[in-house]
Amino acid sequence: MTATEYKAGSNLEKVLSTGTFAVTGECGPPKGADVTVIEEKAKLLKGYVDAVNITDNQTAVVRVCSMASGYTAQQNGVEAIMQMTCRDRNRLAMQADILGASTLGIKNVLCLTGDHLSFGNHPEARGVHDLDAINLIKMYKDMRDEKKFQCGEEMTVAPPLYIGCAENPFADPFELRALRLKKKIEAGADFVQTQCIFNVPKFKKWMEEVRALGLHKEIKILAGITPMKGVGGARYMQKFVPGIDVPQDIVDRMAVPEKGAPQQAEGKKIAVEMIKEFTEIEGVAGVHIMAIEWEIAVPEIVEAAGLMPRPAVA
């Protein structure tokens, strides 16, 4: 494939297009005007991931914006996947921000609806939800491919974008989950990152449906992984985090070693085992490692999973 055939020419797009099993990470920007947090997280991940998601006011809590943090990550040697939620911006802001991000060299974007405001620290805010995530994907695709704004007006220079989306194989109704991914593909998504997976048999079942629809040939699928730091966190996710399915056997396994370093080691071990299992599933093109406030664990996990060195693509 020549450079001109790429949609955006991002590192992530190039890695995925070669068929190499891709690795993405995730960084949450800080709750304050502090550039050092993303700088440090980027330095930890540099060379171990092909690109890193920069979250956008995750869990509806205000933080440094994903555009500025994405720029900082790239200045520190890690390509950014800028997350963009429909919760905080209308279609004007989402178009202006992606044009701005593009002028700063950001090429990957992840289109999300966004966690509801009621989960965050400004529950009294007005939720925007002008578009939904599927509308957003389509809008960015038309900007890139048709050089058109959402209103149909032509723009001067189209933003080169590699467009991502999320999907949760563990949400209900289960029979809709692969079909909703199909809608996102039709809207224009190039890659998808799944919700973090703990229930591997259910994920495999979802992948069967995805393959039956032939979707794995139309979109690059990155399986979501969250390494667990301890049994407390595992129990919390099992009980309180909407959309996450943590089977009891995983919680039981995390409870065996002593708290602290032994449980952390077990959490990393489970993550590595899962990654190895995912590399064997037809249609899984990579993993998305969401080590929430535990970025330091990522290099070890990637190494142990046999995914080093990361490819150097030109």
Binding site: G114, D115, S118, D132, I134, Q150, E167, G243
Partner: protein, 227 residues
């Protein structure tokens, strides 16, 4: 119907301030049906205000009345005398009724005793559920008669999102009550109707200019105007 809830008593007292002649004005339409602002509720609030004034040793005259519909000029004429005699009108109508009253009797001070909250359906006695956002462009013909604009917490045109679980929304109400996932309901009913294919249409962005985003709306029916 339009539903409303009475404001906290302390807030009502602050709105009334030091006015000596207070008229509590109910409305016998929507707010009466939702047991918030009909004649009976106006009478109760007037009594509460008299008792409070008595406790505080203030000389305040409190009257009550109710219009058949506070949102229509001719029904306001019927209570005009009482309104004119008051220093302040404490309206228990919906936001439309309160504004009609304030406009009709301007510059009379008219203050709200209720918070108008939704276009709701009485699900059972004393329980109302939001059903319409008056968005100006109804889509429920494609969504099995279920409104995604107000019944989906994120107003998705292409749901359900990844927070849908066991038929419920990831969001809970203010008292932690469960909210049904609108898109799970839509899917279920489209199946029952044999119209599953409607679930797989990529619906375009909604035209919000038809809603209040387009500015205050006005409706004129030329054919119905008197000749």
């Amino acid at each position: 119907m339009i539903t409303a809830e009475r404001k906290p008593f302390d807030e009502i007292l602050e709105l009334v301030g030091d006015k000596k002649k207070v008229l509590v004005a109910g409305c016998d339409t929507c707010v009466a049906i939702c047991l918030t602002g009909g004649e009976k509720e106006a009478e109760i609030l007037a009594s509460e205000l008299r008792i409070k004034a008595g406790q505080d040793g203030r000389a305040v005259e409190v009257e009550h009345t109710a219009a058949i519909r506070q949102c229509e000029w001719e029904y306001l004429d019927m209570i005009a005398e009482k309104v004119e005699a008051a220093d302040v009108v404490l309206s228990m109508a919906c936001g439309i009724g309160i504004q009609s009253m304030a406009e009709k009797f301007s510059p009379k001070i008219v203050v709200p005793a209720v918070n108008t909250n939704m276009l709701g359906m009485p699900q059972e006695h004393a329980v109302w559920l939001e059903r319409c956002g008056a968005c100006g462009e109804c889509v429920i013909g494609e969504t099995a008669g279920i409104c995604p604009v107000v019944r989906c917490s994120k107003s998705l045109m292409n749901g359900p999102c990844g927070g849908s679980h066991d038929g419920l929304c990831e969001v809970t109400g203010p008292d932690k009550e469960e909210i049904e996932c609108a898109w799970a309901l839509i899917w279920e009913r489209l199946n029952a109707q044999g119209r599953e294919e409607l679930m797989f249409i990529n619906r375009p962005p909604k035209n919000w200019s038809k809603s209040s985003s387009g500015g205050p709306r006005k409706m004129v029916r030329e054919e119905a105007k008197p000749v």
